[in-house]
Subunit: 197 residues, 2 copies
């Protein structure tokens, strides 16, 4: 059964150990912030700073196992039809980001979407872990500088993630509509996921 992640919003799901989930970039241009928490202990969660050490790099490749803040495997990237450009460096957007960009009044954010998505399961994130930003295109130059660019993925591209533990996975279709991180038209789009048999 396909579950929609509405444009600008978040959605979470439980995923049992050994089960896989297919996340599809319906329109190709959408960044999806992704988190995973150990179902039995929300204080243990997927950590980008621990995963970069574990996988030996900043770009997860097919076969790479992302790890928790306790350095235990949590999600494995088992399939990726896109060019494999996913960000592990940049924080989830938040109210402060949009305030600095000049927004007046409330603006959706991936940080708030994480809280709302988990709330449907009566869960609260202990903090905002730095997310795995699926399809987010942050090129790094030789001097270490980074830039924020539109995704290089195409409509229908998907990743398959396998749970290595019983986890709760949360997604946010990034609501960034000021910078072209969700495509040059700056229009956030919906995506969807399916739990595979």
């Amino acid at each position: 059964m396909a579950v929609t992640i509405p444009a600008r919003l978040g959605k979470a799901t439980r995923l049992g150990a050994g089960k896989s989930l297919k996340l599809t970039n319906t329109y190709g241009s959408q960044v999806v912030d992704t988190w995973a928490f150990i179902a039995a202990n929300m204080n243990e969660f997927m950590s980008m700073e621990h995963s970069r050490a574990a996988i030996g790099g900043i770009f997860p490749h097919v076969g790479d196992m992302m790890v928790t803040n306790h350095r235990e495997p949590i999600l494995t990237l088992v399939e990726d039809t896109s060019p494999g450009i996913h960000d592990t460096l940049i924080a989830a957007c938040d109210r402060y980001r949009y305030e600095h960009l000049g927004c007046v009044g409330y603006h959706d954010s991936c940080t708030d979407n994480l809280v709302a998505a988990l709330c449907e399961f009566d869960l609260t994130p202990p903090e905002t872990p730095s997310p795995w930003n699926m399809w987010m295109n942050i090129p790094i130059a030789a001097d270490g500088s980074v830039s924020f660019e539109p995704p290089v993925s195409k409509p229908g591209d998907y990743v398959v993630l396998r749970a290595e533990r019983d986890v709760v996975v949360a997604f946010s279709c990034c609501p960034q509509d000021i910078l072209p991180i969700n495509g040059t038209d700056c229009v956030p789009q919906k995506c969807y996921f399916e739990i595979l048999d």
Copy 2:
């Protein structure tokens, strides 16, 4: 007055807004994990994932302002006599790291050192923020892969950090003695800091 950060251990200090602190790599080969918290609100702290977005890169340069998880300036790098190779990508070492490296029994870790250093001020970190790893040499190849290399700094190299808010700064002389991240001899060394007038 110079304050020693003992080899393998941590040390914290309060630093008022506008004040600067000089951190010296006595032997040149030591990595110093560095954290900063807003004194009036420990839930706001220096964040690598927010700072990389703010400074537009993974390597802080002289003049760069590191920001908090609320995207507010917290520490500015105002002087650096070393080649400027400081890591923002890798998690603090922790008990899990040393267990995976085969250590039996207790091993000092930067994560525990942060807790102990703040404890002297009756403070508790709300989480373990990803640290600013001063002098830690993590080269990134063009394909995004990283490696763990000895520091390129020399004895007596120092950085000067200016507080943009009233902060508590914590340091840990990394106790890693299995991988050559603190020099090829794998011997962690002490460092020291001074608060400047």
